[in-house]
């Protein structure tokens, strides 16, 4: 491992000062489940490593009106065990439960999952499907909020400025009767990188037609995004079998070629239909 300086600030203010001074050569570490292997393999060679785990402001889950605020250093285990998340954002519990094994979930954080920008992230697509927003802070720009869908530019590359710190994940509580489903396909039942995962959040109006719908796959593309072609077909219409087939075709057609080995397309089609059906059959949040 290349030598680096270690910074352990206790407040966001201190962290922002360090980032503003050392921006380019500085890497932020939280749970370290992605960063430490990257340091060891010398995939990254930072001058400084900034530990944000001791900043109290950055951890925990709180309700602010109709919004749930999740601190970026909140671990997957804390998300799984949170009553607030279980009640209002159960999709996140499913996505977080599918990450690694317990030792990884005890250490890995939601902020890390977003900022690492891995195409194989399990939680980031769920945050996008939940229409989450990210609060970023820096000395230069102060506080700004961007949609989670815009966080990642390319694999392992975020759109954040070098001196910016993710300080909160903001997700609106799901309106009542919103339905959701998540499924991860992998070669084994734990400690597995996803072949693919799909998060779906939807709502039906009183006529049973889609009135709200977000479909976000993971690992199928370089960057997690909403599958707008499939969403467009379904919106405003009732989920009949023929329509679901049409949407499934659009879903598969929307996936860019490079990231998908041939075999994945028919599988992605099946998994999409399965997740959509599961969401439709689910009881929805209260």
């Amino acid at each position: 491992m290349q030598n680096y300086q270690f910074h352990g600030p206790r407040t966001v203010g201190e962290a922002l000062n360090i980032l503003s001074e050392r921006g380019d050569g500085c890497r932020i570490i939280a749970g370290g489940t992605d960063l430490i292997p990257a340091l060891r393999n010398e995939d990254i060679l930072p001058d400084s490593v900034l530990n944000i785990l001791e900043i109290d402001e950055l951890t925990g889950i709180s309700e602010e009106g109709d919004t749930i605020r999740i601190g970026p250093t909140t671990t997957f285990t804390e998300i799984i065990q949170s009553q607030v998340i279980k009640r209002s954002l159960p999709l996140l519990v499913e996505a977080a439960s599918s990450v690694g094994g317990p030792t990884i979930r005890n250490r890995g954080t939601i902020g890390g999952n977003i900022c690492n920008g891995s195409p194989a992230a399990d939680v980031l697509p769920a945050v996008v499907a939940l229409d989450g927003e990210l609060e970023l802070q820096s000395k230069a720009l102060g506080t700004r909020i961007i949609p989670a869908a815009e966080a990642v530019e390319a694999p392992y590359q975020t759109r954040f400025n070098r001196d910016e710190l993710l300080t909160g994940i903001l997700i609106k509580k799901l309106p009542s009767e919103t339905r959701y489903a998540f499924e991860k396909l992998a070669s084994r039942n734990a400690m597995a990188r996803a072949y693919m995962n799909i998060s779906i959040v939807l709502k039906l109006d009183e006529k049973g037609a889609f009135s709200d719908l977000r479909i976000v796959p993971g690992t199928l593309e370089a960057v997690a995004r909403r599958m707008s072609a499939a969403e467009k077909i379904l919106m405003g219409r009732q989920p009949e079998d023929s329509l679901v087939e049409e949407a499934a075709d659009a879903f598969v057609g929307d996936l860019a070629g490079v990231w998908i080995p041939d075999y994945k397309l028919p599988v992605a089609r099946s998994v999409f239909k399965r997740v959509l059906k599961r969401a439709l059959n689910g009881s929805g949040v209260e």
Binding site: L185, S187, R188, A190, Y195, S270
Partner: protein, 331 residues
């Protein structure tokens, strides 16, 4: 859709090196003046439990508790060569050396005991040597002391050679190995036809081990072998690209986790081998050999598709399902 299938895999497997390759092992047993027993052998226990069964064997012969025996193994400075821990040979070869050495020591001690207790049926058990008369007995410790006082040799080294004849070079026929393990395993799988993912629900494994010296160890070997066979069948793969290993870490090379573990029912079959120690053979490698064929047969039962390439991971299974669909459409 999820489809279930059952499949059987059967195997026999040669124990030891076979094919005229030299296959020898040695063990030394020394009885100390205070009655303690020191066993030396170059055999390595790397988890399969050979140390435990060596102590069981020596304890059985000398009538002393197995945990009172001091075992020194795998140290070229102090132990005789026993060959490597491979080829499922350790119990069969080194186990025999252990029994032979223990019996040689016992024979000497028995003659001294007969001198003390008088001739008759002497038995070595519970740390003493008893005759049919209840008052005529001597503790193992006292007998050891007497042997030492009399200057009797109670250190013995035994040599076991199971090198076989080669097979006929013209016909390939012959009896290549000293003995053979036999096994059948039955696999029950569930295949997700949409994703191509195979879940193993249950494995029933019946293994002829000759004699289970330590049944719990044998089960451990079977259960471990089954999961290795399952990994071999479904997920584990060495991938190279341009000469570089792409699966060089445990995050890339997918071995089964606790959550992939199916129910495993082990059945120990004991058909004693005339030349094995107490009839024992070997189980190390046999445990994993029938698993992959059983799983592939179960997949075939579920899908009517014969898998000929491993691993049978979702990619390969889904490809085969799609190919079959096309063929059926065409015909």
């Amino acid at each position: 859709m999820k489809k279930r299938g059952l499949g059987v895999g059967c195997m026999f497997y040669g124990i030891g090196f076979g094919f005229s390759r030299q296959d020898i092992s040695a063990a030394t047993i020394e009885i100390c003046e205070d009655g303690s027993v020191i066993v030396r052998s170059g055999e390595v226990d790397y988890g399969q439990g050979s140390d435990t069964i060596f102590c069981q064997m020596v304890g059985e012969e000398l009538g002393i508790p197995y945990d009172s025996i001091q075992l020194i193994t795998a140290d070229t400075f102090t132990t005789p060569n026993a060959g490597p821990t491979t080829a499922s040979r350790v119990t069969y070869v080194t186990g025999n050396a252990m029994v032979k050495a223990a019996r040689a020591v016992k024979e000497t001690m028995q003659s001294v005991a007969e001198d003390i207790l008088g001739e008759g049926d002497l038995v070595f058990m519970d740390g003493e040597i008893r005759s049919e008369y209840p008052d005529k007995r001597i503790s193992f410790r006292d007998l050891a002391k007497t042997c030492h006082a009399r200057g009797v040799q109670i250190v013995e080294t035994a040599w076991q050679d199971i090198t076989t004849k080669d097979v006929d070079p013209e016909t390939g026929q012959g009896d290549a190995y000293a003995t053979y393990g036999w096994a059948s395993q039955l696999a029950e799988v569930e295949v997700d036809t949409e994703t191509g993912r195979v879940e193993v629900l249950r494995i029933i494994a019946a293994h002829d081990v000759g004699k289970a010296i330590n049944p719990s160890n044998v089960e451990g070997q079977i259960e471990g072998g089954v999961l290795q066979g399952m990994g071999y069948a479904l997920t584990e793969e060495i991938v190279q690209e341009g000469g570089y290993l792409k699966t060089g870490s445990l995050g890339d090379y997918m071995m089964p986790t606790s959550m992939d573990t199916p129910r495993i029912d082990s059945h120990i079959v004991e058909v004693a081998d005339p030349d094995g120690p107490y009839g024992a053979k070997g189980v190390g490698e046999p445990a994993l050999i029938p698993t992959a064929p059983a799983i592939l047969n179960a997949i075939c039962d579920a899908l009517d598709i014969r898998v000929t390439e491993l691993p049978a991971n979702p990619e390969n299974i889904k490809r085969l399902i799609l190919e079959k669909g096309k063929e059926e459409e065409a015909s």
